[in-house]
């Protein structure tokens, strides 16, 4: 995926300022930077939730800037939210099943004209959703309302939904914030395994353990622009990064 000179301003604030970066396929790329650097805004632009003021975004040879979010998901690019956007009065399982792509029962006409296919599809997606919930250790909460989950569990639900759409690139906005350390480890193991299966992860994270030990490359953003880029070890010692973000 390539982001080329993307800009976005809110009023007088240039949240993203001609930012350009690349995410290599089948990598785990970290995006770090101080609060207000424009990281989440950039994610929202890539996912199609905000329309950029300028610049281009290419994904797998398709220009995706300006496309609506659901088309971008259709191309295999999914994002999770920093503040969980769980569908409160749906159950955990419903939340995850909903994220499936191409569930025939979601088309009104299929309900009446292809009832058998609808039943088959739904059954298969429910099984898939349960598998994913096992991976994220939410399977025992499958039939609880999503609003009853704790903050960390909501993060896991975000990840479960993202995986359900079978994406090639996942944008994770602080995936382990609020998740306990043991689970953080197994979550990142899961992400590494999925990467070996051919998926790409692009993640915002403030947990330096995760960023330094698990990412192949790290991109640093500051004031809406890319400040530095490289393997974690290089970035860690970059004086400009230390000054603006990591601190002495």
């Amino acid at each position: 995926m390539t982001v080329n000179a993307v800009e976005k301003a809110f009023g007088g604030i240039r949240a993203v300022d001609r930012c350009s970066l690349d995410v290599a396929p089948k990598s785990i790329t970290g995006l770090i930077g101080p609060n207000g650097a424009g990281k989440s805004t950039l994610f929202n632009i890539i996912a199609g939730l905000y329309r950029p003021d300028g610049g281009e975004i290419w994904f797998n040879g398709t220009q995706i800037d300006g496309l609506p979010p659901y088309d971008i998901v259709g191309l295999g690019l999914t994002k999770t939210w920093q503040i969980p956007h769980e569908l409160r009065n749906l159950t955990v399982l419903e939340n995850v099943v909903l994220a499936a792509k191409g569930n025939s029962g979601e088309h009104l006409l299929n309900l009446f004209f292809r009832p058998r296919a609808v039943k088959q599809d739904e059954k298969q997606w429910r099984l898939r959703a349960r598998e994913i919930l096992k991976l994220t250790q939410l399977d025992n909460l499958a039939n609880e309302h999503a609003r009853t989950l704790s903050g960390g569990q909501k993060k896991l639900l975000e990840l479960s939904r993202a995986l359900m759409s079978d994406p090639t690139l996942v944008l994770l906005d602080e995936p382990v914030a609020g998740v306990n350390p043991a689970l953080t480890g197994s979550l990142m193991d899961l992400i590494e395994r999925l990467r070996r299966e051919g998926r790409t992860f692009f993640l915002i994270e403030h947990d330096m353990n995760v960023v330094m030990n698990r990412c192949d490359r790290v991109i640093v953003m500051h004031q809406g622009r890319k400040l530095a880029e490289g393997p974690p070890a290089t970035v860690k010692t970059d004086p400009t990064v230390i000054e603006s973000y990591l601190g002495g």
Binding site: N89, K101, G105, L111, D121, E122, R126
Partner: protein, 483 residues
């Protein structure tokens, strides 16, 4: 009392006794019973009583269809329609114009007695109904198309504007709609002759309406509990998140809104054939929209049972107030002494019952059932003054009972503070009941005339109480447990 009842009051397991359904259906049953009693007091024949009841049921069915349409839009998808009356009007007029026979203007000398109306195509009823649904659904889609892309409030504004405009247009576009006189003589589904015509017609309408409502409930249940309906509920919860999960939320909103509009059109068509005439003044006033809101809120949004139960309940109160005013009130307005005695007896009885349950009943009966029993006994007594024509007292008393129900039965989990609030409110109502008795002694006509109007206040009070005690409506949306 019953030996089978558990000794101590363990919380009855959820999914055991369907208490909410019990309350709702007893209330609707109570409305029917009081209505029948009023008619009996007024000396109606059995056929007359049935005709009247048939009218209640068929209009309640029409409101149910409206409520189901609104529930699809708002309860499931979160789209607020402030112009229900407008889509209802479209359906009614389209159906009426399609199925009536030609109606030329009537001119006597130089005076236009009746301006006539468009068409008079004499089409079959089924065609008229389908046209009504297509027209109303199409109008809903056209209004929604621009408004759905904007913030939620704009949809409400656009629909409200449509409803108001349509009402004015129907009143003034005389050659098309018959103006203020409207469309008269919409043919009934089957034309009956003779003395029993109105009775047979009422029964036919109940049959047709019942069939339509049943079919709708089955189809809507199938649709709204399908994966498609799940996307609608997701849109209601968080549209942005649903979009980020790959759903074209705009398309779903449009589908839900247009289908809801089509249902409102269907309700309009049913209204045209049930009443047999149309005029824009009262039938399609904004109040219709508000009534449907109340029905869906009271019944419980986000589930189809709630919408239809709410319609029977709220329209039931409306029907009953007319029923009692026209029938029972005239008959027995004089018996206020009896009423006063009854009311005192009821108050004392209620107090004793409260004490009994508080100190004794707990050991004999499961607490919830004990309260239910008391509510049932008091409710039965409450029916008496209402049936005797002292309607305000009856209503106050019914609410008094209802409040105890809410305070102790429904809200048992966190009973302390709300229960106390319930008792205070009940006591206030008891006082209001007394005030009515006194007022009746001082100015007999004032009460008889005013109680008809008071019904709206009572519905409003009921709504406020409901919002306090049970914001999700009487029949709440259930959790969908997937296997």
């Amino acid at each position: 009392m019953t030996a089978a009842a558990p000794k101590k009051g363990p919380a009855v397991e959820p999914g055991g006794f369907p208490l909410n359904e019990f309350i709702v259906f007893s209330l609707i049953g109570g409305i029917v019973v009081i209505g029948i009693i009023s008619a009996v007091i007024a000396g109606a024949t059995p056929k007359g009583i049935l005709t009247n009841l048939g009218f209640y049921v068929s209009v309640a069915i029409i409101f149910s269809v409206l409520a189901l349409g609104f529930n699809l839009q708002w309860g499931y998808t979160g789209l607020f329609n402030a112009g229900i009356a407008g889509f209802y009007l479209i359906g009614a007029y389209v159906a009426a114009i399609a199925i009536t026979s030609p109606a030329p203007p009537i001119v006597v000398g130089d005076v236009v007695v009746y301006p006539g109306h468009l068409g008079g195509f004499s089409l079959p009823l089924v065609v008229g109904v389908l046209l009504a649904m297509v027209a109303a659904g199409g109008a809903a889609a056209v209004v929604a198309l621009p408004a759905l892309r904007l913030r939620a409030d704009y949809l409400a504004i656009a629909t409200l504007a449509l409803a108001v405009t349509l009402q004015i247009v129907t009143r003034n576009a005389q050659n098309i709609t018959g103006g203020a006189i409207g469309i008269t003589s919409v043919p009934p589904p089957i034309l009956f002759q003779g003395t029993d015509a109105s009775f047979l017609n009422a029964i036919t309408m109940v049959g047709i309406g019942g069939f339509v409502l049943f079919a709708l409930l089955v189809i809507l249940q199938f649709m709204s509990e399908s994966p498609w309906g799940r996307v609608l509920r997701a849109v209601r919860e968080d549209e942005e998140a649903t979009m980020a999960l790959g759903k074209n939320t705009f398309s779903y909103k449009l589908q839900a809104f247009a289908l809801g509009g089509a249902l409102m059109g269907l309700a309009g068509a049913l209204y045209a054939v049930t009443l047999g005439y149309l005029s824009p003044e009262s039938s399609f006033a904004p109040a219709v929209t508000f009534s449907v809101w109340v029905m869906v809120i009271v019944g419980g949004s986000g589930n189809n049972r709630g919408a239809f139960v709410g319609a029977f309940l709220i329209y039931g109160m409306e029907w009953l107030s007319v029923q009692v005013r026209d029938q029972a009130a005239s008959g027995l307005a004089a018996n206020y002494l009896l009423m006063s005695v009854l009311f005192i007896a009821l108050g004392v009885g209620a107090l004793l019952a409260v004490l009994a349950v508080q100190f004794v009943g707990r050991r004999v009966l499961d607490r919830r059932r004990a309260w239910l029993l008391i509510a049932a006994i008091l409710g039965a007594f409450g029916a008496a003054p209402a049936a005797l024509g002292a309607l305000p007292i009856g209503w106050c008393f019914a609410l008094f009972v209802l409040l105890f129900g809410f305070a102790f039965v429904v809200d048992r989990a966190k009973k302390s503070r709300r229960a106390r609030a319930g008792i205070y409110a009940a006591a206030t109502l008891y006082g209001v009941g007394w005030a009515f008795i006194l007022l009746q002694q001082l100015a007999p006509n004032a009460v008889a005339d005013s109680f008809f109007y008071i019904r709206l206040m009572i519905i409003g009070a009921l709504l406020i109480l409901l919002i306090i005690f049970r914001p999700e409506g009487i029949l709440r949306e259930k959790k969908r447990v997937l296997r």
